[in-house]
Amino acid sequence: MSEPEEPALSISESASLERGYRRLLAWYPGWFRRDNEDEILAVLMACAQDGQARPSREATLDLIKGAVRMRLRPRPGQPRAVRAAVRLMYVGALAELGALFTIIMTAAGVRAAVARSAPASVDIMGLHILANEVLAPIAIVVWLVLARMITLRRDAARISVAAFFGLITLTMLASLSASGPAYAMADFTAGMVLWLISTVSMVLVFTPASNRYFRPEPELVGPAG
């Protein structure tokens, strides 16, 4: 087995090279870094050329490529359903952003329509629109926090997903009954998309494989089958 020959590096060269490598390794996912960072760094430093103070362009590209690959891979032990749920939560945040945009764009039209057909409810409609504009950014944050909770395998993750699903369902029903026919079609579509996303992601985090992920069974001591 070959032993690495220590490359001839001054202390400042070595420190600067190591900083450069650490900056690149920061692009890798946390679980991978916790397990591998020190070791990769040791290999990178052993492969250094004499007097090298910065990562080569080749090594830089290779490390970035590796980081992208590792980010696309599921975390070890994370079932496919859970992975899909996390991705859907990101889609949810994006859809919410789209919904917010839609609400802002259609607000004037909806207000005018309400003013024509039911002048008495203009104030209520304005309040409804304002509420949506305030709630949508909060919802974006909630989607992202839920995704993070699932990734970190938090116990409360699934209850929170279920509660959020309930909230979205109630909001949908409430807006439908409150605004009736004046409810803008685009607004309704956005709400429907979000409701579907939350439904599917809730189903995904409650599959049997996900149950094992969130509640790992205690390992049984005894003869293996």
């Binding site: 087995m1 070959s2 020190d38 070791e39 490529k65 590796g66 891979r73």
Partner: protein, 107 residues
Amino acid sequence: MQEATFLILTALASGTQHGYGIISDVADISGGRVTLLAGTLYTALERLRADGLIGVDREEIVDNRLRRYYRLTPDGEKRLAAEASRLHSHATAALRRLNLNLAGGAA
């Protein structure tokens, strides 16, 4: 199986190796043609570990740096043997046909 993966498994076939050892061994096996870079090596090692083809044999601290030794698992041995014989039979077929054609052309 990608060439880098095949060469990494081959490097581990004769015994445990650490990361740097695999890089220099792969260079030896390939006659200096393949130089593994650290990013490629560790994404491959991670995949092979997840697939159960290799495992961590032991860890040592040398000069304040972590050194982890990898070994081939029984599954890894089976996969490498299967891949090697597949490549071998393809290579043999290719050489045999080239020889036949050369002989046919000379006659």
